[in-house]
Symmetry: C2
Subunit: 338 residues, 2 copies
DNA sequence: TTGAAAGCGCTACCAC
DNA sequence: GTGGTAGCGCTTTCAA
């Protein structure tokens, strides 16, 4: 490996000058700078990371901690895109991404390995963390950032989608399409994002004075099949809903195929709205109307946010909200009830 | 951050002794060792990575280079599991994983950033790399490992599945089930893995003296829909195949739903075999008979292989083959042609 | 504009 | 068994 000494020798100067030239610290004459950079190029020099880290007390690396496991998050195309955006922006800042799945055995009470070893300047959290774990992680003397989630009451930087506004907007749109009997289908889980969507939905329903609000939210299920059963029951009753807003596209697409199998036409007899704009929404039959999230942007902005905090740890905590934008495809019908 | 000096002070000894005690380099009395380890625990000491790397000239990190991009590989559940296995084993060896998507602009002619900076001790390649890129990467003065692919003629460590044997075994199994008119459906791509499966398949067909071999391989398509068209055409002719071996589960599952939509019963009128044992095979209707690959094992063994090479760069190049094992579910019928 | 030198935290050699 | 110390490659202060 070629070191700064080799360059100094080749360019006939001291290592201090080489360092200055490379890092653009002025005080180097144009001619020596040119000599030095030329030598770097010919010898293929790149500053050794370990030496640099040791001296700078900075690793130019951020840890990506996935929960519950690497595989679970990778498989998730949402996370995959977020990571892509994150990596992209970090690389641009000469930063790198160190991968880690959360390991309960190691981390309970203790911190993930790579953190204690000073391998990273900050940690990005991605996944459906229980808030207890996040609270524990917060004790780390390290910049922390939560992507696509948030723990209310905890002072940790975060970037999320504005699910409340989106939930509200979905109701507005459906109403604009002439729907009055609207349902939301949401798993019986307690994660931040879907909760906000539910609240936004309820807000919209109330604002438009629609239906007994408590009837319009179907959440007493954990799995798609159960959810469908509940919905089917509602559909077969009188006063059946004409539109259903699903917590996410996965649920919506599952519903779509079940409805189809049962001969319920979408959007003919029932309109369907998803959330996330996953791959596959556009290919569905009919193409699914949903709320688009710019997942890469979450990653990109996340990279920027944590880099800023690394530089300025005393900055005020920031919670950034990204919009989810309505994508009209063909799963919502316009009702012209005379 | 607490350093080795803090421990030395707390334990009333020199930093040299602390280092020895921590790294188990003998020559430390039981009593001092105990004092030192106690101090480490109370002060929460972990050796600083940068200092260690600089001194050891080793980073205890391997780079994971994904192609074409991070997101593409993450989305792929096969890669996700491989990475999981890789990470698991690396962590156990106190190694870490540095993430990088392949960046053509940077890498053409030049090497990926993190490599030149001495950030990693080795690089693991995962994805559908063109062999030209691999050949370029091979010039790096770094241990290299290809997971789930291989470039024939290039001396690079690799771990792959034995697709030839598996392709051959599929024919054997189908024959054992009474099938004689067997097709293989494979995309018109030239990647190492599917090629080996094709060769194994052809070998089996020949060995059993089945059908004009050239007719039994359907590859003139790039997309699922075209593949289906070709197959459907064959099915409608006389001498229709009774069993189809698909290059992978994705294709098989796609076919399955198309066949179903067209009223072709599986396995009643046609038997179907996939490859990979992806999520979803077991849930399909009917559950898909396929070849199981232990993806995590590819990652785990990969970790071991590259760690070994890092320690002993002069080792002979190794190509390791893992078996793909037949998983009998319900998409293959037994034909008792009297 | 340049260079000498200190020191980041660690391991390993060598002397005691 | 233990400790002093050199030195890994780098950046930065200070002096020239």
């Amino acid at each position: 490996m070629v070191s700064i000494y080799d360059i100094a020798q080749a360019a006939q100067c001291s290592i201090a000058t080489v360092s200055c030239a490379i890092n653009g610290k002025g005080r180097v004459s144009a001619s020596t700078r040119k000599r030095i950079l030329a030598a770097c190029r010919t010898l293929g020099y790149a500053p050794n990371a370990a030496g640099r880290h040791l001296r700078l007390q900075r690793t130019e690396t951020v840890g990506l901690l996935l929960y519950p496991t690497c595989a679970s998050e990778f498989r998730n195309s949402f996370a995959a895109e977020v990571i892509e955006g994150l990596e992209d922006r970090l690389i641009a800042a000469n930063y790198h991404l160190l991968l880690g799945g959360y390991r309960p055995q190691i981390a309970s009470g203790t911190i993930p390995q790579f953190i204690g070893q000073g391998r990273v300047d900050g940690v990005v959290l991605l996944g459906k963390y229980p808030s207890t774990i996040i609270a524990e992680l917060q004790l780390l003397p390290l910049p922390l950032l939560i992507l696509d989630s948030e723990v209310t009451g905890l002072a940790i930087d975060s970037i999320t989608t504005d699910g409340f506004a989106a939930g509200r907007a979905v109701v507005d749109r459906l109403v604009a399409h002439g729907h009055r009997r609207i349902c939301m289908l949401a798993y019986d889980h307690d994660f931040h994002n879907p909760r906000m969507r539910r609240l936004g939905f309820l807000d919209g329903m109330q604002a438009h004075g629609l239906w007994p609000v408590q009837q319009s939210l179907i959440t007493a299920f954990q799995h798609d099949a159960e959810g469908y059963r509940l919905l089917a029951h509602r559909l077969s009753g009188s006063e059946a809903p004409t539109a259903v807003f699903c917590e996410n596209d996965h649920l919506a697409l599952d519903l779509l195929s079940r409805l189809r199998a049962d001969g319920v036409s979408v959007p003919g007899s029932l309109s369907l709205v998803g959330f996330n704009d996953d791959d596959g929404c556009a290919q569905a039959q009919p193409p699914l109307t949903t709320c688009h999230i710019d997942k890469k942007a979450i990653g990109r902005l996340g990279a920027e946010m944590i880099l800023e905090r690394i530089v300025a740890p005393e900055l005020a905590v920031r919670h950034r909200l990204l919009p989810a934008v309505w994508i009209e495809r063909q799963s919502v019908a316009t009702r012209t009830t005379a």
